[in-house]
Symmetry: C6
Subunit: 202 residues, 6 copies
């Protein structure tokens, strides 16, 4: 489950321009779907990972998985072998007082980390949801219908979802479904290729 408590974010509109280090995720709460921002900042350091935003244990583990997956891309990203030992990474999910949990922000965290590291912006009209594994597999999530409604409401045009959720698309109201482009992915590299301004190639 992917619970964000009873509060709805007041903070759910698409960005007005492409951002570096900020990716848009889709969340599923007891009162419906919502969008959330994953913010990543980097600083010279000793390889520390700081996680904030009242994240539950599963979501904290998600961040560790996303980071370890990105570390497997060290060569592909043209980074020094000790890059991750020489930088501290902070991942924050506003709003700070709203509890958040669940594994479905995995690909969003992955994308935000890669954007922060490479300096490539993330396309502002793209939202995403999907659990990520250590080798970049994208696993299915719950609440696709509610998440799609919130993406639509926030003004997003494209949402990246796990291939294994394909069968859930027809549960989404037709008006919404027709105004959103659904990108089905099974590997995190595909997410990066779609979401990053300038694309991504291994």
């Amino acid at each position: 489950v992917d619970m964000l408590g009873k509060h709805r974010f007041r903070y759910g509109q698409a960005e007005t321009e492409n951002q570096i280090g900020v990716a848009t995720g889709l969340a599923y709460t007891t009162v419906g779907g919502d969008t959330l921002q994953i913010e990543v900042s980097l600083a010279p350091g000793k390889g520390k990972l700081v996680l904030t935003g009242k994240l539950g244990d599963v979501m904290k583990e998600s961040a560790q998985i996303a980071l370890s997956y990105v570390r497997t891309l060290t060569n592909d990203l043209g980074l020094d072998a000790d890059y991750f030992e020489q930088h501290d990474i902070h991942i924050h999910v506003p709003e700070g007082a709203v509890p958040k949990d669940g594994p479905s922000a995995g690909i969003t965290m992955t994308t935000a980390i890669v954007s922060a590291i490479t300096g490539k912006a993330i396309k502002r009209e793209v939202g995403m949801t999907g659990e990520v594994t250590l080798r970049g597999r994208v696993l299915p999530i719950g609440g696709l219908k509610e998440k799609s409604l919130s993406a639509h409401r926030a003004g997003l045009s494209t949402i990246i979802i796990p291939k294994d959720n394909e069968r859930d698309i027809d549960d989404i109201p037709e008006t919404v479904r027709e105004q959103l482009t659904f990108k089905l992915v099974s590997q995190a590299e595909e997410v990066l290729a779609i979401a990053l301004d300038g694309g991504f190639k291994k």
Copy 2:
């Protein structure tokens, strides 16, 4: 929510002169608003962050976010790249026995940290309230009416508030509203420009 327990501070008057490393925040308690001071001290060290003042988890995370945001300004502040690895930072919120929590001291912490680092004083007549995110976004807060009353009572003349709280201004009693200047901000840089003696430019 931004709870400070049942005790009112006995410590809520505006400073008598501009201070370095001390910013005035506005808090919201069950018995009304209050002002609080965020104190920051620096010392040569190894990058340790010490937080005191009976802070709750969300407020502790706020301090981490404020610090990581300030680290993204390392160049703008003219600091060495390893400045934050070579200093310990202590953030304290008196009074020590009163529990405090919530994200709304984010911009106050940010301002106090930058003041302590740069040696620029903070204007004594300025109070502020607003959640900050990792990229310096200022998010809306609750209790603006009560916070404004306490700012007025404490003798402040200017309060910095999130742009997204603009619509809450008309809930403040007219007498108070007319004696306070409201500065609406959406980015932490704007807060620094307003609150720091000598201003701030990126």
Copy 3:
């Protein structure tokens, strides 16, 4: 006991090709058996072990045991004496929101670690279950019947099981039993020899 909660994985089919650093385990839940993947990633580092996948204390200890056992093979694997002090190892068990516990993934973790380190792929049609001890002894597990059914359902052809579970094989329905090859082992080296593409010799 080897409980994985009430949720069944939706993620239980055999891999479509041999993988490096990913081994297939067999789990036993209150609603039957299931397969799970153990993923291992390596990065230059300082010898840190990161464990994710909502693992219980016994399963976390299992990972430590597997790692210490593999460290005793440092010479046999042709690794530098300080290899494990110069690398961080992350072991993840998808799906991230499903709690998992028990010692029976010991040999699966062992195999995944050795595969990640050596770059030798693991045969995609092989599943395994068995507790491992510090000197590589393979201890018996529970739920062999249910685990065998799930292995069969997932399309595996060979399962490696502890020698001490031999007497439990005749509890498995004949149709399933005849389509699976059972490899009985008492030492982890035997597991590596069977599961690794290219085998293993001490």
Copy 4:
């Protein structure tokens, strides 16, 4: 509140001579006031702070605040810039089995630390009570009447109290009030100037 449990110290007489690294505080318990000793020892080390004496969280934070405040005096005390990274500091409050809490030992801890560092003794006839903040502000405390009675009973002649407690002096019985000298302070430097043998100047 500044609770020390139900036990009264059996250890509450003024020192018979001036001591280095030991300051006399005034505490307030459910059964009345009491005096307590704050002991500080220094050793070559790596900047570790050890706190003992069954201290509650607020009192532990008080010690951290006192230490950070003293670190801001590094130059004034003629210390090397890395002095506090090269020494371990232990702060103990006998008696070890009596729980203690509250912020009002702040200035006592500050004084004991400075005495231990400088080797200047603390005047044996002086007791003190007051919360300290990171910039050395002295904040008001509770229980002044009870604390004054215990100071008098212990044979102290002078007590240092926060300026904001001035109005509470007239609650103290006249006989006691007349035999005690009250020193009102608003900054920790004033405390040091009064309590240290040889005084203190910034």
Copy 5:
């Protein structure tokens, strides 16, 4: 008390050959005695001690005591003075899912550590039980009768017990008593001399 929960080990037969780094202990559970193996592995490292096998706090402390005692033998064992700072030690007690506690595995842990370090095997027919102290004193244990029965059942021929348990020997059924050799010890060095293949001399 020396409780191992309600489960009996299925793993309780004497080793078929002498082993290095594996000693046989005797445990006492609510359902009778049992044998257990203490496994120790060494690796180049930084002096880390890893403990697994669902050990309770008293048993974990036992391991620390055993290790500190062995460190006092650094010279006697012909080790470099910094040997223990240059190696990581892992102590595991299978089976991983069975909770274990109590101090009576102290001499077993001591023996397994010394065996792992020296490479001297432990005689396969020897079991042992006894609390160890920091200077190698062997303290009495409970459940000698049950432990002896399990040692006999497992095929052991010799058991090492604390001298202070001598008076408990006559509680053991005569058939068992006559087939076991009891070695009474009061110092850990005596245990090493008896259990290690090749003996031990200080």
Copy 6:
């Protein structure tokens, strides 16, 4: 209070010869007094303090206080300034399964540490009880009568007690009182002078 649970030690006789690093303390339990041994071992290391013997928080703090006090004697003991940063110290109180707490083993721990460091033996016929503070003050303890009875029963001839317990001596039965020598102390240096073979001088 100085509780050791309901179990009486079976281990309470005076040593048969003077020991290095082992001091005899006197404890007070719900079922009467008892003697206990404080064992200290040293090893080359990095200044780590290991505490075992199921010690409660107050007793663990006692050990830290004893150690910090001994560190203030670095010069008097003829040790290098960085001695304590170059050694690990382990303090153990058998029996490992019996919970122990309270501050009254302070001087016993102090004596055992100094003995271990200097190699001076502790006189076997001497027992002791007393809380120690950071500057070596000896504070009074409870249960002197019961502790004296157990000291007598264990065959000790001399017990060191706090000066402030002098008035409690006449509560001890005359037969016991006459066979014990009571040494009244107010400073830890006096304890060392009495208990160490060869004495001690600052």
